[in-house]
Symmetry: C2
Subunit: 468 residues, 2 copies
């Protein structure tokens, strides 16, 4: 087969663009920085949404929907927030044929509008914690857009919660980081993320603590895949979110916010894809196996359908490809490109022999198997492939993390992956120096890998590297 | 219990506003005409989405996501379309701190941007039909907003399809009308809709045929709950959607579009609610039954949990209400307001007697039942209640439809419900006359209730009435 993609080693960003186009994941939109998510890409997003939504509900949050358009004055109530987001805002000045009295911004995130209503809904300590989430589109005018990773408009979920105490807010933000985001990334997306704390410089505008889960792409660069923020009392003060405690004393509440976006799709592609295309972890694959009718022949389509039904009964998400008018090789390359974990090829000769050819995208094996055992072997392959991709990504990441002791070494290590370095060696000054080489501190962790409560804890380590 | 809602007979619109607030379905947003959908309202929307999405996928459409912001020039390519939507547009003129070269409109609907890309994706007859759908927010600047029914921003799905022939497009638009929309409304929302054809005057801007499913509210007014449009070749010509047919001749395609929105929630409330609050058809209720711990007592909470587990195993979506700090009466009224089909009350005395009190929201019966039989009786109640609400709504609607023979009689009948009148008696002139009394032609049907292919067919009947 002719190679259809730029090899990763030649030009990784171009490989990425090639995959997006050839696997029919996304197109560029008409407005710079926007994108059209095509059916195959959107089906992956739907799988991620379902898995993430279930985890968000499991920790007790309920879904809501707030308006897209936010009065400009709302943003101005939290000083750091408006400063951080102002350069990225899209502004509606005209509507219904008239100029508006007050310009409206398209939400870049919704802390302010949630704040306004949470203040109304929270009256007593009995109303707390208030745990809300919304699935929505947001707009941030990006200077350097890249499909999925950084787009002017993106889809995400944003959680917003109110708590009676700082400790409760802190604990909940960590539950989201670990039980929701890190669990989704590792167990569904097969991405071995590093959960950690952001430096003051990298914090969300208006937060007192931003935590992140960072993934390493196959070119060694980082992608921030989800963030969870402690907002302290900054938004509670700006929006007057107060409550009467058990002693009927008025208290100011504590809030958190947290989000994960279509950016995860970009991470999924860049963590697992290879020179032949996507490789999808079975848990996120919309199609886990395809039964290909290799060639027309008596009873072949029927046998393929029967096999698909067996696979479906075994819990496998399966599709039948009977487009025999299109060349077999072309179709096989296409399924490879699309990263479907298992291809089952069935032709007249296979059928006569009572067997089928099972081709694994992950691992690359190709074996002839008795028809009767195909369903159970493919079902078993799902767990194997999920584990194999996770193990491969973990090894690749670990091989590219270098323990270093100086800024210079950090710069050197960042050419291939990440450097791990004592935060005391870096500090705010080192962070500025690294930025000159396009390198950022991705996150801070304790020596045992847990997330520090402060960057001033002794022995804190920094992961530094380049990022998308 | 004190009546908390304005009685429907006194002021139906005020009853509606009361229910929205008291059942915690929605709040008004900060910008006029926008709304905040609260957790209880959003959970209903999620149920509708799941049921509608499954039906859309069952007819072969696949989900995608297109950008929110559309270049103004796109809208201008289809003359009727831009004329119809111009007065309702919200326009982004500034972004990223600069004035934009070309203003961007927030999508009021997405025919134009889908058209642009469908033209790229469709090359050959083999690519047809192309069946796409998206779940999205849209903005239309409304002069007379009303929560859910008519809001400046609303959530919906919009389907966009391309076909090789007019007949195929026509058939698909009807499949959506009947198998997707009418089926959802009748079998899930328990709303006995009338599917019909819109008059030329009521057509979607740019369509050659608009079909609708119309529901009657409890005050006799109509709500258009979903529309399916044949767009002819209007958008295909404007966006150059062409394909090579089997003889390699270039042909212009035929397109359709169709949508259903959060407006369905408004319809659901207004079709089934009564003076005590919502009444939810079990199939759309996020919570179908609640086990109320009437009073604290040894083993009561445990027994309530055990009963809930039994109900869950019987396929019932159930919640436990053990907020014994809040008065029982207040909680009971709240569940009534929220329209949960079944309330199971359990206190120490019930437990000692091995029974529970089962209160049905629909029908209003209150019976003491042996604990062991509660789960099976509640599970059976789900189908009974679903059928009962549908039967009640059907009777109420049929009682309020009057067969009339003149415009004057139509105006009279529209005070209480709908008039059914030969379309030949109304015509375009009659439509203008009716409009002077705030009455519209809701749809046209054949005498046997099927949807006419043209308003010029003999014996076509018109349903006319007031509408939200």
């Amino acid at each position: 087969m002719a190679a259809v993609l730029t090899p990763q080693a030649d030009d990784f960003p171009r490989w990425y663009q090639d995959v997006l186009a050839k696997a029919e994941l996304a197109d560029n939109g008409p407005v710079r920085g926007t994108m059209v998510i095509r059916p195959y890409g959107y089906a992956l997003w739907e799988r991620m949404q379902a898995e993430l939504d279930a985890r968000i509900k499991a920790v007790g949050a309920r879904n809501v929907y707030f308006p897209l358009l936010i009065p400009e004055s709302y943003l101005q109530r939290e000083a750091e927030h408006v400063e951080g987001f102002s350069p990225e805002l899209a502004v509606v000045t005209h509507a219904g044929g008239k100029q508006l009295d007050e310009p409206l911004v398209i939400r870049p995130t919704s802390e302010t509008i949630f704040g306004e209503y949470m203040a109304k809904w929270v009256q007593s300590y009995r109303d707390l914690p208030l745990l809300l989430n919304q699935w929505a589109n947001v707009v941030r005018w990006e200077l350097r857009p890249r499909p999925f990773l950084r787009t002017t408009e993106f889809l995400w979920q944003e959680g917003h919660t109110v708590h009676a105490t700082e400790a409760d807010a802190a604990a909940f933000a960590r539950t989201i980081l670990h039980d929701v985001y890190a669990d989704l990334m590792t167990s569904v997306l097969a991405i071995p993320v590093v959960p950690g704390r952001k430096t003051v410089h990298e914090r969300f505008a208006g937060a007192v603590n931003t935590m992140t889960v960072e993934g390493m792409m196959r070119d060694g660069k980082a992608v921030q895949l989800g963030t969870s923020h402690e907002l302290g009392q900054n938004f509670a003060r700006a929006f007057d979110i107060t409550f009467l405690d058990a002693e009927s004393q008025r208290q100011t509440a504590w809030t958190t916010s947290w989000g994960a976006a279509t950016r995860m799709l970009g991470g999924l592609i860049m963590v697992h894809g290879d020179d032949a295309g996507l490789r999808l972890p079975p848990r996120v694959a919309a199609t886990q196996a395809v039964v290909m009718v290799a060639k027309a022949g008596e009873g072949v389509v029927e046998a393929a359908s029967a096999l698909a039904a067996e696979l479906r009964a075994a819990g496998v998400r399966v599709e039948v490809d009977d487009r025999v008018d299109t060349g077999f090789g072309r179709r096989a390359v296409d399924w490879e490109l699309k990263g479907v974990p298992v291809r089952i090829e069935l032709g007249p000769r296979d059928l006569a022999a009572g067997s089928a050819t099972v081709v694994r995208r992950i691992g690359g094996t190709k074996t002839s198997q008795p028809l009767a055992s195909v369903a159970s072997s493919v079902a078993a392959a799902m767990d194997e492939d999920q584990a194999a991709l996770f193990a491969e990504a973990t090894k690749l990441r670990d091989d590219r993390i270098a323990d270093v002791a100086s800024i210079d070494e950090s710069v050197e290590a960042s050419a291939a992956g990440w450097a791990r370095i004592p935060w005391a060696v870096v500090g705010t000054e080192g962070e500025t120096l690294l930025a000159q080489s396009g390198i950022t501190v991705r996150c801070l962790v304790r020596p045992d890998g847990s997330v520090p409560d402060s960057e001033d804890e002794p022995d804190v380590l920094a992961y530094v590297g380049r990022a998308y």
